[in-house]
Amino acid sequence: MLTLDGLVIQQGDFRLTADFTVPTGDRVAVLGPSGGGKSTLLGAIAGFIRPTRGRILWNGEVLNDKPPGQRPVSILFQENNLFPHMTAEHNIGLGLKPDLKLSESERAQVNAALIRVGLDGLGKRKPAALSGGQQSRVALARMLLRGKPLVLLDEPFAALGPALKNEMLDLVNDLAKETGATVLMVTHNPEDAHRFAPQTILVAEGAALPPQDTDALFANPPKALSQYLGNPNADE
């Protein structure tokens, strides 16, 4: 269970508060206007942004002082999710051991992960020789191997076309079900939320609201959401 306990993030004029829990195994969309603080929220949970006040806990353990690599978190960014100078295998292998000194059995695990995401035989290729969708699959295979219980998606599929993006979201869905991971997915597209996430965290006007039932939320949107939905250009 992820707990944000009285969390405040202050960066100059920007301020974001959050105070809620996300039960283990939930799939949650993080929705709201751009500039609203969606990425900031994920950045704080992943350990890239230091909260001004409050605590971030996973199953009761305080994460605030842990460096990103030691948190129970896998995060996929909007871009730069793979090292371009490494083969797909090595990129995935980093999820097992950051120094890449892999044993025979670990190499077999890497291979199995490649097969699981549908990249059988492409392990020796570097990212430049893979399509956008295949690159995403490599990142997902690494996520799978890391086996972290909390997965954060900061719009990693934004550059893919709609069909490919849905394919990736379905794959994330399957992988999350297999591993029992909790998933937080940033999106500004209500359709993605409907498709992927039974729960939605609305981030607007300086606050991240507790997760609500996605369908109910859209059926009866609060003011901040209806403003956002009604006028997609409002960035304030």
Binding site: R50, P67, N80, M86, L94, P98, D99
Partner: protein, 525 residues
């Protein structure tokens, strides 16, 4: 921001040791020099003449280089033609060209028996007299016109293309473009370019050693060498070193005030689209300027090539031995420069959120830009004299001094490269727990291979061609190739000198090419 957890590892430690070494070599040697400069001042009127000449030649060299560089940079900025890339690359070549080779080449063209003099005599004029102020200026312009051109060209390319488009839209003439776009840029860029060249010429040694000398054309650097080498008057050498340092420090302060630019060495391949300068006479003018510059830069090299080609394989064994020594020194200096600059750059980037500390480390790395190798050499001699025979250590000392003299350039190349890697992939690496040595081995080194090879190539070539500290220390059997070449020239063995110069030229460029190419081979982006 969360702290980047790189942890304490060997590279961090070596980075701090590098900082300490640079401080010892610059400030430490300076203290040694001041400590030794006791007793009654032996600085006489002739030394004040040297101070005056130092400032005069540096000022004139900088002024001429910068003034000539403006039309050349303008031509390069606004013309698109075959070989433009080559010409710009040629502008970068003097940086790694051994000074002593260029001087020999200039003598072959502009010397008493040179091509230019021969033509003049044939036409009924007196031959050119290259020794003295004229020769020093000629050589300094040869080296610094290309540098000034590159610095000013950067200024031109930094003017946003939209401004030129707007100027075209408004129907600006060439003159109006100059007034509204180019002159404001030049006002910002020229003082910095002037100071960079001024600083370089102030500490220039090999040029003055060969072309200067005598009571009327001696710089402070040369006076240090003479006090040290001929009179073995350490106290006087130390006092002169103090003067040289003071001049250097003052000039550096001025240079920092005008925010001197540093050549980034890349990104000059863009052409500014211009609509105001298509007039035929402007095109002719630009062509003549570029041709003249190319001729001026290429003729001395061509002269070396012609005179040296037949000689290389007839060179006496001691020249080959000195070449071997130089290669060893160059490899050692290159290794040290890479070690120092890489570890210092890593520390600078790692500590970037503690701005003041990070900037201090970087500034220390740039200290040797203003330092004089002869002052460092004098100080090292004073420091080493009580504990070891400095002459026996001539080659190691040369390698170390060469290494720290190349450090600013290497740091300038590596720091932005590492910074970019951290900014692009740092978050991913952090989230994967990639730290310490693994981060260096798997992320940073593979991604900075190109810049690392470039820096290594520069360091190797600069050391290969250096004639500075070695002139202070070298005994008869310890000459490096540049030193050997100087001895051949002093003995008027010009045919052998041409052969040795060609050998040195080939070795310097080959070293640079090898490392630079090695870094870029199979590089993935």
């Amino acid at each position: 921001m969360a702290k980047r957890a790189l942890g304490i590892n060997p590279s961090t430690l070596i980075g701090w040791l590098s900082v300490a070494l640079v401080l010892v070599l610059t400030l430490g040697t300076l203290l040694a020099v001041f400590g030794r400069a006791e007793g009654a001042s032996s600085i006489g009127p002739s030394d004040w003449v040297a101070v005056r000449f130092t400032l005069l030649q540096a000022g004139l060299s900088a002024a001429i280089s910068v003034i000539l560089a403006v039309p050349l940079a303008r031509a390069l900025a606004r013309r698109r033609f075959m070989g433009r890339g080559l010409l710009i690359a040629l502008m970068g070549a003097p940086f790694i060209l051994p000074v002593i080779v260029a001087v020999l080449g200039l003598l072959a063209v502009f010397g008493r028996n040179g091509i230019a003099s021969t033509v003049l005599v044939w036409a009924g004029f007196d031959p050119i007299s290259i020794y003295g102020l004229g020769g020093v200026l000629l050589a300094h312009v040869f080296f610094n016109l290309p540098l000034a051109t590159r610095l000013i060209l950067q200024g031109w390319l930094a003017i946003p293309a939209e401004r030129f488009r707007l100027a075209a839209e408004l129907g600006f003439s060439c003159r109006a473009v100059a007034r509204h776009l180019e002159r404001p840029m030049l006002r910002a860029v020229l003082p910095g370019a002037f100071m960079v060249v001024f600083l370089i010429c102030m500490t220039s040694f090999a040029v003055v050693l060969v072309l200067g000398g005598g009571p009327r054309a001696t710089t402070v650097e040369l006076a240090i060498y003479q006090a040290f080498r001929f009179d073995f008057d350490l106290s006087k050498a130390a006092q002169l070193a103090g003067i040289q340092f003071t001049l250097g420090a003052l000039a550096t302060v001025v240079a920092l005030r005008v925010s001197a630019p540093m050549s980034a060495g890349s990104g000059l391949d863009r052409v500014v689209m211009r609509w105001d300068s298509s007039a035929i006479w402007l095109r002719v003018q630009d062509s003549i300027i570029m041709l003249a510059a190319a001729l001026f830069l290429l003729a001395p090299l061509a002269a070396i090539l012609v005179a040296g080609t037949g000689q290389v394989f007839r060179l006496p064994p001691q020249v080959w031995l000195s070449a071997e020594r130089s290669l060893l020194v160059a490899m050692a200096a290159m290794t040290l420069t890479v070690l120092f600059s890489l570890t210092m750059a890593l520390n600078v980037v790692r500590l970037r959120h503690r701005r003041r500390l990070s900037m201090t480390i970087e500034a220390i790395g740039y200290l040797t830009l203003a330092a004089s190798p002869l002052v460092i050499g004098t100080g090292l001699f004073i420091l080493l004299f009580p504990i070891a025979n400095p002459v026996a250590l001539a080659l190691p000392v040369t390698a170390i001094v060469n290494a720290v003299m190349s450090l600013p350039f290497a740091l300038r190349i590596l720091k932005p490269a590492i910074m970019e890697v951290e900014q692009t992939y740092g978050s991913l690496a952090d989230s994967l727990g990639l730290r310490g040595t693994a981060r260096l081995r798997l992320l940073i080194l593979p991604r900075i291979r190109g810049p690392l090879g470039f820096a290594a190539g520069l360091a190797a070539a600069l050391s290969m061609g250096d004639l500075g500290v070695i002139a202070l220390f070298a005994g008869p059997d310890q000459a490096t190739l540049p030193m050997q070449l100087y001895r051949l020239m002093s003995a008027y063995r010009m045919a052998e000198a041409a052969g040795a110069a060609l050998l040195l030229l080939i070795l310097s460029f080959a070293l640079f090419w090898m490392f630079d190419k090695g870094g870029r081979m199979n590089a993935d982006t």
